[in-house]
């Protein structure tokens, strides 16, 4: 029997064949366009100079409450909607933002006093900006400051670090704009209330008084985020789509310089490849350096599209390093630790992988920090010295190409970092090969960040080396990371962040002394000795200070990368589109 195809089906099949051929042609064109894409200039990416700016970042803030759960996405956003009492400027100088004058002993706004326990404390007097008001027109007052302190020190409100609030004994309200803070001790940073982020009493007090334990869940910052009364910066939040974006509009009550942009959209795109595509397509105008591409991604981007964007690099406070577990018998010996440093060419790594934009770290103190000692000699790249130190330490024979000691033990160490972090894994491989050249075997065992930070580090389960980064601050005393009382163990509930398990009586004394030394020069000498010990004892292998890459349209002016924890958006009112 001859099979008969009905006419309708036959027509359908013919049409389909034509469609397939068209599809092939379209696919060929698409592939061709994709290949030539990087060479062409898309119409959508032609920057439109207007009064709206869309910023791409890789994170979305979990909460908008300023005191609960520190997060860079929140800091970046709030830098445009709120102002801290004081902050470090782009020259790393402490300046007033909500106050009128930085209190010092010299200007008489700070005075020593006896605390009720007989200890020496300090009274610091601040005056708030006279024109400062909340976005709903309510004046920003001393009562707001007192309320913030109440929330900050309350154990049930969910505030992360309470140290600053707990040190305050009382706050005297002198008038609507002036108040005196009584602190229970005198430290070098007696006048630094940089993290003091004032809350609006007129909105938050009723919520707080309804129940402190529920406050973290009921705060207006999360339940009524569009309330302009929560903000006192150049912008207020006008739209919030969780996980997607936050839109800011000009704050009509802002007392400072009127910001240029009518609207700013902060868009969260976690995947950096997608972030790049969004920038190229014109869906976003710029990528924030604080939460954007890694330096290697930015360098690759610059090579391809550098002519269409302005790219600024700024090294910052993110200190990339390798913790050494000092309880490991091999690493107990200082000579082995020093040999590990001598054997690696950090300068070449920085140059080859990061175009020299990430300065090599000598210690945990950033070269931009006023307490950095440039006269100290770091442990230089010196393979011969590394070999000599290892031989001296008893690792004087080879087994299968690896140094071994008299007991036949191989000098073999585990090296961990966060799996999937391309930059770290690349650095890890380079270091592994450099150590292999002096006979040190390094076995790479990486873990997802969730496991690495959630358990391995906090419970000191890494046996050898652990690479990750710390976020620091100008003149940040390394008490939690170096003081011997901050070594995590089961007895202290794995509290503290001295993960190497570094115990050094002199370092403990120096940390204690630095905190209370008011004389800058004397403090500088203490810091210098601390850095010297850090270099000599090698509790940690310093690698480099990570640089941030700010990718901006050529028409955007006024963005000044800071390199410290206060983001560039803190000067958003000076950002402009070139006309």
């Amino acid at each position: 029997m001859v099979e008969r195809t009905p006419r309708t089906l036959s027509v359908m099949m013919v049409c389909f064949d034509r469609f397939l051929r068209s599809l092939w042609r379209a696919a060929s064109l698409a592939i061709f366009l994709a290949l030539i894409g990087p060479l062409s200039i898309p119409a959508a990416a032609q920057a439109q100079v207007n009064d709206r700016l869309v910023i791409g970042i890789t994170q979305y803030p979990q909460t908008l409450h300023p005191l609960i759960n520190a997060m860079m996405a929140k800091s970046y956003t709030h830098a445009m909607t709120r102002r801290p009492l004081m902050a470090y400027d782009s020259d790393w100088e402490l300046v007033c933002l909500l106050c009128v004058e930085v209190p010092t002993f010299d200007n008489g706004l700070a005075v020593l006093e006896k605390t009720p326990t007989g200890r020496t404390g300090v009274a610091v007097t601040f005056t708030l900006q006279p024109d400062a008001v909340w976005g709903d027109g309510e004046p920003l007052s001393s009562d707001d400051v007192v309320f913030t302190w109440e929330v900050g020190k309350h154990p049930k409100t969910g505030v992360g670090s309470t140290e600053m609030y707990n040190r305050i004994l009382s706050i005297d309200v002198i008038d609507e704009k002036t108040f005196t803070v009584h602190v229970d001790r005198v430290t070098f940073d007696y006048n630094s209330f940089a993290g003091f982020d004032i809350l609006p009493e007129h909105i938050e007090r009723p919520i707080f008084e309804a129940g402190a334990e529920a406050y973290k869940n009921r705060t207006a910052f999360d339940t009524d985020s569009l309330n302009p009364g929560l903000y006192h910066g150049p912008y207020v939040i006008t739209e919030k789509v969780s996980g997607s974006h936050i839109t800011l509009g000009r704050n009509p009550e802002w007392w400072g310089e009127t910001p240029f942009f009518r609207e700013i959209v902060i868009r969260a795109v976690e995947n950096t490849s997608a972030l790049e595509a969004n920038l190229l397509s014109g869906s976003i105008d710029m990528i924030a350096g604080e939460l954007g591409m890694s330096i290697d991604q930015a360098l690759a981007f610059e090579k391809r599209f550098g002519n269409r964007f302005r790219i600024a690099y700024k090294s910052g406070l993110i200190y990339e390093h390798i913790d050494l577990n000092l309880d490991n018998p091999f690493l107990e010996d200082k000579r082995v630790r020093q040999a590990l440093v001598h054997a690696i060419d950090r300068q070449a790594i920085s140059q080859q992988l990061f175009a020299g934009l990430q300065p090599v770290a000598n210690s945990n103190v950033n070269p931009l920090d006023t307490m950095f000692d440039p006269t100290l000699e770091p442990l230089a790249y010196d393979v011969k010295r590394a070999e000599a130190l290892l031989t001296e330490a008893g690792w004087d024979r080879l087994r299968d190409g690896v140094r071994a000691n008299a007991q036949g033990e191989k000098l073999s160490l585990e090296f961990m970092t966060t799996a999937g972090n391309r930059t770290r894994e690349l650095v890890q491989q380079v270091l592994q090969s450099q150590w292999a050249r002096v006979g040190i075997e390094v076995r790479i065992i990486n873990e997802p960040a969730r496991v690495f930070f959630g358990k391995t580090l906090t419970e000191r389960l890494f046996t050898g080396l652990a690479m990750y980064a710390w976020i620091s601050a100008p003149e940040s005393v390394p008490r939690t990371t170096l003081h011997s009382t901050h070594i995590p163990d089961p007895d202290n509930g794995f509290g503290g962040q001295n993960y190497p398990g570094f115990r050094n009586a002199e370092v403990d004394q120096l940390i204690d002394a630095i905190e209370v030394e008011l004389d800058t020069e004397k403090r500088r000498r203490l810091w210098s000795r601390l850095q010297e010990i850090y270099i000599e004892e090698v509790p940690v292998i310093p690698l480099y200070f990570r640089a941030n890459s700010f990718i901006m349209p050529p028409w955007l002016e006024g963005v000044e990368p800071t390199g410290h924890q206060y983001p560039s958006s803190l000067r958003v009112e000076y950002w402009r589109a070139r006309q």
């Binding site: 795109v269 397509s281 959630g454």
Partner: protein, 320 residues
Amino acid sequence: MTAFLARRTLHALIVLAVMSFVIYGLIGLMPGDPVDLMISGDPDITAEDAKRLRELYGLDRPIVERYANWLSAAFGGDLGYSRLHGAPVGEVLGPAIVNTAKLVGAAFVLSSLIGIGLGLIAGAAPRTFRDYTINIAAFAGISIPPFWMALLLILIFAVVLGWLPAGGMNLDGTLAGELRHMALPVIALTLASIGGYTRYSRASIIEAMRQDYIRTARAKGLSKRQVVVGHALRNAMIPVVTLMALDFGTLISGALITETVFAYPGMGKLIFDAIMGNDFNLALVALMLATLMTLIGNLLADLGYVALDPRVRLHDGEAA
């Protein structure tokens, strides 16, 4: 039918109850807790702060006690509070479910319709140019990693051609804007799923066309269209319905990779972040909803089998 539905509902409730404990327990077994994650972002948090925060969030209590507290509150209608989003779980889930349902729903409808259609066309004329072309396209769709497909679509349609936005949510509030923003993620998801539907339906059609009843139908002088549509299609759809039932669960669980690449705030991303951030309440409720959707999908599949094949009878809670 009523007895069947009642039994399946009872089974579903038992599965959900067991799953709720298993999910809660598994998240609890993960290393670290939310306070550890806070510490990694804030070196100023002291050991005392960590202890206080663990007490505040109830993390110092045994997992069984925490689960029991959650369960009793859930029976009272309180699903708990999302720590990551600073809002009640219901408020967090609502918009994400809507976003994902729109995205995955559109892709589900498109991919099943197009995939079954292509499978039908390929299966009706095996080993022809049409069949080979469709097969190659289907294999390409199955083989290409979704994130790469998504990036390629962004590159072509957003970066090079500038026709569509590269991702994110619509900012202007118009329907046209919303459709434009959904276009690329829907296309990416559709392309990723079409292959499976096409291959399943093609194989089923070819298998069905070899059956005796098809030969009988042809012998009766029926046209090819009548044979394919009237006789082969219904039987060929049974394995495809199974595939659709499994896909139905993703209407709620979302598409993590596509949502991440397109910066689309849906359920996939929400569940991933909740698990990674140890947000017990949110992860638990979201995963239970996904489980529920899979159970509903299976129930619909069983009902579908009955509709497609009269020989299938419903008894003992299963289609047989």
